[in-house]
């Protein structure tokens, strides 16, 4: 008998005859639903993620590439890496960015690992959405926007559509039926990396990005 069989046999010999009733989280969330407007959800998301030291800039579908270029210049970004085959990636044009080097992700990570770790100053990704309750971005990694693009460069720029902010994590994964098909890596990101492991003193820029900058496209144009 293998370890697997022995463990399972022990558990089967001891488990209750009938499983307990299936717990449904829906009522807990339904009774606390806020019925917020899009603007209210955006405001709550913003307060949340700013509390975790992310910068949030509200912009428009037309203006965000220029804003990104300006922020890159402000942060003295020399090289910006991004996924070229995404709708957002195709909007990044060299003439907007001037002397900032726009570098599309190309090849497998092994081919570009040294650059990614040592020469890329910032990574740019789209997001799948966000969560108002906690101020979290939702990222699903893909062939176009690999996992490390939002992890290794010291600055992470993230593009968010305000219409895709969910009230809670629970609402996001139920309304979009995530259980039907997750990518190899799905992420919630709430601020730049941090630690309080030394005397409970909060320090940013632990192992991941030191800065997280969120560009929010707000279609109604109510720029704050």
């Amino acid at each position: 008998m293998s370890a697997r069989d022995r463990i399972l046999a022990k558990l089967r010999g001891a488990r209750p005859a009938e499983p307990l009733p299936h717990p449904d989280p829906a009522p807990h969330y339904a009774t606390r639903a806020r019925n917020e407007s899009k603007a209210e959800r955006l405001a709550r998301f913003r307060t949340g993620i700013e509390g975790f030291h992310a910068d949030v800039h509200v912009t428009t579908e037309a203006d965000w590439p220029a804003l990104l270029a300006k922020l890159c210049r402000d942060k003295q970004v020399g090289t910006l890496m991004f996924g070229a085959n995404t709708p957002a990636g195709q909007r990044l044009q060299a003439d907007t960015f001037g002397d900032i080097s726009l570098r599309p992700w190309a090849g497998q990570v092994e081919d570009i690992k040294a650059d990614l770790f040592h020469r890329v100053d910032a990574g740019f990704t789209q997001t799948r959405g966000a969560i108002a309750e906690t101020g979290s971005l939702i990222l699903w990694s893909s062939a176009d926007e690999p996992r490390t693009l939002s992890l290794v460069p010291p600055i992470h720029f993230a593009l968010l559509d305000a219409a895709r902010i969910h009230p809670t994590f629970y609402d996001a994964l139920v309304s979009e039926n995530w259980a039907a098909g997750l990518p190899t890596n799905a992420l919630l990101i709430s601020g730049p990396s941090k630690t309080a492991d030394i005397q409970q003193t909060l320090a940013y820029g632990a192992h991941g990005p030191k800065e997280l900058i969120v560009l929010v496209i707000n279609a109604e144009g109510d720029v704050q």
Partner: protein, 488 residues
């Protein structure tokens, strides 16, 4: 670096493997810890901080009650279907391209992981935070076989540099001051001079460890929740080292206890929320990392191989008993230790077990047997704070009483636990049996209390452990019964 060297903080032999702590040594360690003012100050400050942060996350007690009940129900439901869920998890992970391994003992788990390391001729394993890897002494096992295992969580890295073990399951280096860490870095990291600026220290750690993420052959991580229906491993973290370990090296090995599985993805949302809020008082952690397989198809990064090691190590023993099974509801938030008056006074090292504090006292006896751990459940005032804050409502005080019973009852056939009766003492047992007999009959109780009041002058002045810190017990000169009679 050796984890065996002695250190000044955290009591004697803080870095030694857990199996070395005898009952006598445990008493001494606790005594030493209580008398270490620096340690007391560190833990008091840290626990006050964590308690205040947690309280701030739950301003709405209705919401807290509802979320605790839901989380308890999810954990109990998952355990009620545990063998089925483990099989479902295995099937879905396998379908996703993850290789699943099963281990009954720490040795088996280490052998499996060493096998993977050797197959890849691995020289360096970078580790995300994993208490299960501490439980099985993973670093020792790898070092013994010539494979480097480097902790990358800042707190764990500090503890490893110091040759210690974590003193808290969430904040491993909570017992160290920034000055101690500054000294440690200056001594152990080439080219680093003393600084006790926390930001500077973290940047030093970042620089050193980034080099390692880049070159490591294997990344190791724990698992916070394993989702059966999707075959997904969920990791909660703030630093990004967990993402590094599970993303950059070519091989990712995750290790977890068999109890961490839940059925539905939707079950993860409430558990994740109550975990971070209970643990560090954060609304959410910086990263919630959901891994459903290795690099595949068109993916450009991520590990080429992902392995999951499912470890029993005594958990199936706890599972076999309906009351003890509740131990396995734990989601490892550490709130019970943050609120424990004993933990706050002695710190995490004094217990001598991988998992300290209240949860450690109820889980360690299953992992190590009562022979070594029978004193642990007595290191409690049964104040009930742990049970009150537990996000999944584990009745920790009840379980402590149950374990005291298991440890001290007369050894019998078919015990619920390995080491049952390890604390049994024939004299103590005789005294209590007589006590029970006297109190069960009104006549004998009356006679006994009459004798006790008449012969009170013969009460011994030294009454063992009781008088170590208290005045001796002495029967009153007159019984209540006599005083009531007088008033009539």
């Amino acid at each position: 670096m050796s984890a065996h060297q002695q250190t000044s903080t955290g009591g004697k032999d803080a870095g030694k493997p857990i199996a070395f702590v005898s009952a006598q040594a445990l008493r001494e360690r606790m005594h030493d810890a209580v008398n270490d003012p620096h340690l007391r100050q560190s833990f008091r400050g840290a626990m006050d901080f964590l308690m205040a942060k947690r309280a701030a996350q739950f301003p709405d007690t209705d919401e807290l009650d509802s979320l605790r009940s839901l989380s308890e129900a999810i954990r109990q439901y998952s355990l009620s279907k545990l063998p089925d869920l483990l099989e479902q998890l295995e099937a879905n992970l396998t379908h996703n391209g993850v290789q699943v391994h099963w281990a009954e003992t720490p040795d088996e788990a280490n052998a499996i992981m060493l096998g993977i390391a050797q197959r890849h001729a691995a020289k360096l394993i970078v580790k995300g935070k994993s208490m299960v890897s501490e439980e099985i002494e993973f670093n020792h096992a790898m070092e013994a076989a010539g494979v480097g295992a480097l902790e990358s969580d800042m707190g764990e890295y500090i503890v490893q540099l110091a040759g210690e073990k974590p003193s808290h399951i969430i904040m491993p280096a909570i017992h160290q001051t920034k000055q101690q860490i500054a000294k440690l870095f200056a001594e152990h990291i080439p080219g680093v001079s003393y600084t006790d600026n926390v930001d500077a220290l973290i940047q030093i750690g970042r620089r050193v460890l980034r080099e390692k993420f880049e070159i490591a052959d294997i990344g190791l991580s724990g698992v916070n929740f394993a989702v059966a229906e999707t075959g997904t491993l969920c990791l909660v973290e703030n630093e990004g080292n967990g993402r590094m370990c599970t993303t950059v090296p070519k091989v990712h090995i995750a290790i977890t206890g068999i109890e961490k599985v839940v059925e539905k993805l939707e079950h993860v949302a409430p558990l994740f929320s109550i975990l971070t809020r209970s643990a560090t008082g954060q609304a959410v952690s910086t990263y919630f990392n959901m891994i459903s397989g290795p690099r595949r198809g068109e993916d450009k990064d991520g590990p080429e191989e992902v392995h999951l090691v499912l470890l029993d190590n005594g958990r199936s023993q706890a599972y076999a008993d309906e009351q003890l099974r509740k131990t396995l509801q734990c989601i490892r938030c550490g709130a019970c230790m943050n609120h424990c008056p004993v933990y706050t006074r002695i710190g995490g090292h004094a217990y001598g077990t991988t998992y300290p504090g209240p949860i450690g006292k109820i889980v360690s006896p299953h992992m190590m047997g009562l022979e070594q751990t029978h004193l642990l459940p007595t290191a409690s005032s049964l104040c009930g704070a742990c049970g009150e804050v537990c996000p999944v409502k584990i009745p920790i005080p009840e379980l402590l009483i149950r374990l005291r019973g298991e440890a001290n009852s007369e050894p019998h056939a078919n015990p619920a636990m390995v080491g049952q009766g390890a604390g049994h003492n024939a004299l103590t047992s005789f005294v209590w049996r007589m006590w029970a007999r006297v109190h069960a009959r009104p006549g004998s109780y009356r006679a006994f209390s009459w004798l006790a009041t008449r012969f009170r002058a013969f009460t011994p002045k030294r009454q063992g452990g009781w008088t170590a810190a208290r005045t001796p017990l002495q029967p009153a000169p007159r019984r209540l019964r006599d005083m009531v009679k007088d008033r009539r």
